[in-house]
């Protein structure tokens, strides 16, 4: 009788032997007590292994700490800060300038930069205007009706308005084309409303501490208020359509201009850039809202008169904002 082959017995019990070998081992186990004992032991080991392996399933999670991501390169924060500053300064500059130019009070000499034709027509009477038309600039608009508001709104947004009654006022010779002025007025109104919306969104974050609203809620409320103001304004256009076109324009612009004037100057903070140290210094103009968001998100840290990055290095010093 051969000595029991433990590997052969395990293979037999695992069903891995071909029929010939399996029959041979089966015969040995049946006839030889040593082979029978080895087979019994092998059965016990297989059962024990199964049970022990089953106990391995009660394993905890997160035993091994995950591999931490590689630290970002130092230039990464610079890219983020630069992008943030660029966006903030760009938005503040682009949005603010047209609004301030549009909202100059009557009587102030227009700036050399060419304003839009519609605004020029609204602010300064052209030689072709009649004195009555020019005087209408300061007229007070009567309250608008719902019907007129609805009609005027579609008019202001540029959609065609059917059934619009022709002007009851006698046509003034030499007066600017009414249809063109209507379109221009609608453009101006839309532009102003858009400007006010943008300014409102920018300023909302800065105001959230005062009114307790979240930035999104504040922006929504501001936008809603602007929409109402714009609606009332353009409703005036419809209600006053029997008067001269210039009167309508003046009334349309007045309340929107008031709202825009409030929002046209978002609170700004100015910083003198210190990074990189060997570069020419320049002034960064940040809206308070954008700065607050950056501080809240941890991209920047403001302490005293200094602005730090994440690695606690000074990137800019607070300075007084001067007129651009």
């Amino acid at each position: 009788m051969p000595h029991p082959d433990e590997g052969l017995i395990h293979a037999w019990l695992d069903g891995e032997l071909d029929s010939t070998d399996a029959a041979r081992v089966e015969e040995l186990v049946a006839r030889d007590p040593v082979w029978a004992a080895a087979a019994a032991e092998a059965r016990g080991l297989i059962a024990a292994s199964l049970r022990i392996a089953g106990a391995l399933d009660r394993v905890p999670g997160d035993v091994i700490p995950r591999t931490r991501p590689k630290p970002r390169t130092q230039g990464w924060w610079m890219t983020r800060v630069a992008a943030l500053l660029l966006v903030a300064v760009g938005v503040a500059t682009v949005v603010r300038r047209p609004a301030s130019k549009l909202l100059e009070p009557a009587g102030v000499a227009p700036v050399p930069a060419a304003p839009s034709p519609a605004v020029s027509a609204a602010k300064t009477p052209t030689p072709a205007m009649t004195p009555a038309a020019a005087a209408g600039l300061t007229a007070v608009a009567p309250p608008a009706t719902d019907e007129s508001r609805t009609t005027a709104k579609s008019h202001a947004t540029g959609t065609s308005v059917t059934g619009l009654k022709p002007s009851a006022a006698p046509a003034t010779p030499g007066l600017v084309d009414r249809g063109r002025l209507d379109r221009d007025q609608a453009k101006v109104t839309d532009a102003l409303a858009g400007s006010v919306r943008k300014e409102s969104a920018i300023g909302a974050a800065g105001e959230r501490r005062a009114d307790g609203l979240s930035p999104r809620q504040a922006a929504r409320e501001r936008t809603s208020a602007v929409d109402k103001a714009s609606g009332a304004t353009v409703a005036t256009v419809k209600a006053e359509k029997d008067q001269t076109v210039l009167q309508v324009q003046a009334r349309a612009l007045a309340p929107v201009a008031q709202n825009a004037a409030k929002a046209a100057a978002p609170p700004l903070r100015c910083f003198e850039s210190r990074q990189p140290t060997d570069s020419a210094k320049h002034i960064l103009r940040l809206s308070v809202a954008a700065l607050a968001d950056s501080v809240r998100l941890g991209a920047l840290l403001e302490r005293g008169d200094s602005l730090f990055d994440r690695s606690r290095r000074v990137v800019a010093l607070s300075v007084r904002c001067l007129e651009p």
Binding site: I9, E16, I52, P60, G61, I64
Partner: protein, 172 residues
């Protein structure tokens, strides 16, 4: 896509269990299994799916497991100590945790090839597949398994005996 779904459905559970038993960390096992299936999707042709998947999973964990074995043992011990000190833990749960810890220790006493062969067999792989995964002769799988099973059982029993003796000593 159908192939991916079928592979996942057929082999994901068993692959994760195998890896969890081998690594002692279910989350890690899940990650390795996912990476294995990602690689399977990139593979154009797979002759034997099961052995291919297990072989790739083995390759994925081999180097990292070797590198982190010391840290893992230490952390497992710490986890056990924290587990043992949890007074609110039920007695049965503690017993199960101790069994798991003993099983883990016993498994780690095996050689790498023996451990893999044993765990692969527990997942239902045949001798041919185990030989393919471990790149060994099929005829040596039986011997490898018998050696692994014996050592596992004996080490586990020794650990259990030692634990019982400690408990008796503490009780007396």
């Amino acid at each position: 896509m159908q192939t991916a779904e079928r592979l996942f459905r057929e082999y994901h559970a068993t692959l994760v269990r195998y890896l969890a038993r081998r690594l002692g960390d279910r989350d890690w096992a899940e990650e390795v299994a996912q990476e294995t299936f990602v690689r399977a999707l990139r593979q154009e042709t797979i002759v034997n799916e099961r052995s291919w998947l297990f072989a790739v999973a083995n390759n994925l964990v081999r180097d990292e497991a070797r590198r982190m074995s010391r840290q893992r043992r230490q952390l497992v011990l710490m986890a056990e100590e924290a587990h043992d000190t949890d007074e609110e833990h039920a007695e049965r749960s503690l017993e199960l945790a101790q069994e798991a810890a003993d099983a883990r220790h016993a498994l780690e006493q095996l050689g790498e090839r023996d451990r893999q062969a044993l765990l692969l067999k527990e997942e239902g792989l045949g001798y041919g597949e185990i030989a393919e995964v471990l790149e060994i002769e099929k005829s040596s799988v039986g011997t490898t398994l018998s050696r692994a099973r014996r050592k596992l059982a004996e080490t586990y029993e020794a650990l259990q005996d030692a634990r019982r003796r400690r408990e008796q000593h503490a009780a007396s």
